[in-house]
């Protein structure tokens, strides 16, 4: 039968049709069957959380052979603590002495992205596709080091619950494990932990990432040569999406477990000296997610992030709280909004020379687009970017690249000069359990 007007999603009839209310019989039937099956379903043994956090890799024994005796255990604990302190001290000293490489504009190299669980690279015009990884493991979120010589990515072997933070050379050779992260659990190939961010230290020797498990995220640090990794900072504060300062001595991150704590924080690279740089305030229903994606300006004086400001957008088709793009002076704590629009403004990112900022904007109706604006709020312009996802600048500051919103959309490269848009298609037809199409642009010597 032909209908004259199809119902719309805002028609209550639609949801009353989709809604399936179970009756008592169905509930009791499930419970009866479940009770029987619980009898035969073993429970995993309670896990002892060790410090430093270092989950065992598949195929590698989790524990050393038991020698026995309280004295040996005490000695081992003391030795372990001493080792941690030593490593932390060495890390602080060595990181602090490193001279950061030059920032600023650079020549663009290859674009790396994940497609179908493999890391691939293409030339900047989207041609000459080469696969750098292959095999059954799901490899996602490739991220170029700042010198363009290495790529880090997350790899999850099929059926396993530990994600490996991998580093390989630019041509895909010499892959090695830099760190690991235990996923919350493995359910139908889709773990709970969704933060697969990677932040290279400016000198390319360390990687920072969101570690921990769901509900207990904490900043993780791994040595790029694979010699060790650990969680840092205050485990009770929580920490996500760390970003290195240009001199490599500090990390900015979003943290805070309770309302009064939430905000953007900065800590030393060894996890000490934690300071909140944002002013605490009531942020409506934003909860833990009120601040996002802090990143440092290339000169290290300011932090850029998005912040929920709570206004409701009248034209939105969904519940809509506006986000602003904020620049905060690290020393004074003074915040300067770059966007005062009643819109979603998110995924802010500095241009390589720090003169401009790009971010996604969406006003609740199509289309979304990327806004490019001077770091002082001047010279605002927009670029066509369909969808809604993370942005990255080309190393020469001439284009903005957006991760694929879904596998059919592909990766979008939007050029500032001609306002042209290039789409790099993905070959996979379904995303992996961890998404697909996260891109990163290789930075070559200027």
């Amino acid at each position: 039968m032909k209908n004259e007007r199809p119902p719309r999603p805002d028609d209550p009839m639609v949801w009353s049709t989709i809604r399936k209310e179970p009756d008592d019989t169905a509930v009791e039937a499930v419970w009866a069957s479940l009770s029987d099956r619980l009898e035969t379903t073993p429970q995993l043994a309670p896990r002892i959380i060790t410090w430093p956090w270092s989950p065992a890799l598949p195929g590698v024994s989790r524990r050393s052979p038991r020698i026995g005796g309280r004295a040996v255990t005490t000695f081992a604990t003391v030795a372990l603590v001493a080792l941690v302190v030593l490593i932390a001290a060495v890390a602080v000293v060595t990181i602090g002495r490193r001279v950061p490489p030059p920032f600023g504009l650079a020549a663009p190299g290859l674009i790396a992205f994940d497609d179908g669980g493999d890391v691939v690279v293409v030339d900047q015009d989207g041609t000459r596709r080469r696969e750098l990884t292959s095999g059954p493991a799901v490899d996602v979120r490739p991220t170029w080091s700042l010198d363009g010589r290495m790529i880090a990515y997350w790899s999850v072997p099929r059926g396993e619950t530990v994600a490996r933070l991998m580093v390989m050379d630019a041509d895909g050779s010499h892959p090695r494990i830099a760190g690991t992260k235990e996923l919350g659990f493995d359910v139908s190939g889709r773990p709970v932990v969704d933060w697969f961010d990677i932040a290279w230290s400016p000198d390319g020797r360390f990687l920072a990432f969101t570690g921990g498990v769901i509900g207990r995220p904490q900043v993780g640090i791994a040595r790029a040569d694979g010699s060790g990794s650990s969680l840092i900072g205050d485990p009770d504060l929580l920490g996500q999406t760390p970003a290195w300062s240009p001199d490599g001595t500090k990390l900015a991150f979003r943290g805070g477990r309770a309302d009064r704590e939430r905000g953007v924080y900065v800590m030393a690279a060894d996890g000490t000296d934690i300071v909140r740089v944002t002013t605490p305030e009531q942020l409506g229903d934003g909860g833990t997610f009120s601040y996002f994606l802090p990143t440092w300006s290339p000169d290290g004086t300011r932090l850029l992030y998005s912040k929920m400001v709570g206004e409701q957008h009248p034209a939105a088709a969904v519940p809509f709280s506006a986000y602003r793009i904020i620049v905060v002076d690290v020393v004074s704590g003074i915040e300067t909004p770059l966007s005062d629009d009643q819109a979603y403004n998110d995924y802010p990112v500095w241009s390589p020379d720090g003169s401009r900022v790009a971010y996604m904007q969406w006003k609740g109706t199509d289309p979304s687009y990327s806004v490019v604006i001077g770091a002082d709020g001047s010279n605002r312009t927009t670029l066509p970017i369909p969808g809604w996802n993370s942005l990255h600048w080309s190393p020469d500051g001439q284009a903005v690249i957006a991760d694929a919103t879904d596998v059919s959309a592909g990766i979008v490269v939007s050029s500032l000069a001609g306002r042209t848009m290039l789409t790099i298609p993905l070959t996979s037809t379904v995303p992996t359990a961890f998404g697909a199409g996260a891109a990163s642009w290789q930075r070559l010597a200027p």
Binding site: K2, S16, K20, A29, P42, V187, R190, D194, F289, S321
Partner: protein
């Protein structure tokens, strides 16, 4: 009636989670039993099939029992269980797609859809309900899940963001995309 072991001492949920994590089955039952109905509504709305919904809830609860010792934050038990249930639905939908068996649901009419109230002809209402069901089944698992979580399970955007560990802005975008996809599916099915 659902039979639950009586444990008069422990009442708060955090303590129950702690007990269940070390293998106390009675504590686990006290945690799960009151949620079976809501879980069934969630899985039933996503899967649009009573048998699959029942299986998904059972699988989710069994997996929760098995994996509970890994849950570090007892406060997140509910969100954690819901995440498992949604993932169980995803698995069911993918398995169904792989099996390539077209299922004909016999319970298309929702119990809350009152035919007497709308004023439209009976056949027209049946047709509309059928159209909605067919349109909804055109959506992929992720779109179905987020729509059900928000519009049927009444989860706020913030709740869903915490459930998936993604930004609220991303949740809103996905919600918007899913609503658009549903609108397109409704239009296609109405042709």
């Amino acid at each position: 009636m659902i039979a639950i072991s009586t444990r008069p001492v422990v009442r708060d949920e955090t303590s129950l989670v702690a007990l269940a994590q070390v293998g106390d089955r009675a504590a686990f039952e006290m945690l799960v039993a009151p949620r079976i109905g809501r879980l069934l509504r969630l899985t039933g709305s996503i899967l649009a099939n009573e048998a699959d919904a029942s299986d998904a809830v059972q699988e989710a609860c069994l997996r929760a029992w098995r994996e509970l010792p890994r849950l570090r934050d007892a406060d997140r038990f509910e969100a954690w269980l819901w995440q498992i249930a949604v993932n169980a639905c995803r698995t069911a939908l993918r398995s169904r797609r792989r099996s390539q068996v077209r299922e004909i649901a016999i319970d298309e009419m929702p119990p809350t859809f009152d035919l007497r109230q709308s004023g439209r002809p009976f056949d027209d209402q049946l047709s509309q309900a059928d159209l909605v069901g067919r349109a909804f089944r055109r959506l992929d698992p992720d779109k179905r899940s987020i729509l059900v979580l928000h519009h049927i399970d009444d989860r706020s955007v913030t709740d869903i963001a915490e459930l998936y560990a993604i930004p609220t802005g991303t949740v809103k975008w996905r919600l918007y995309s899913a609503r658009k996809a549903l609108q397109r599916a409704l239009e296609v099915e109405a042709r």
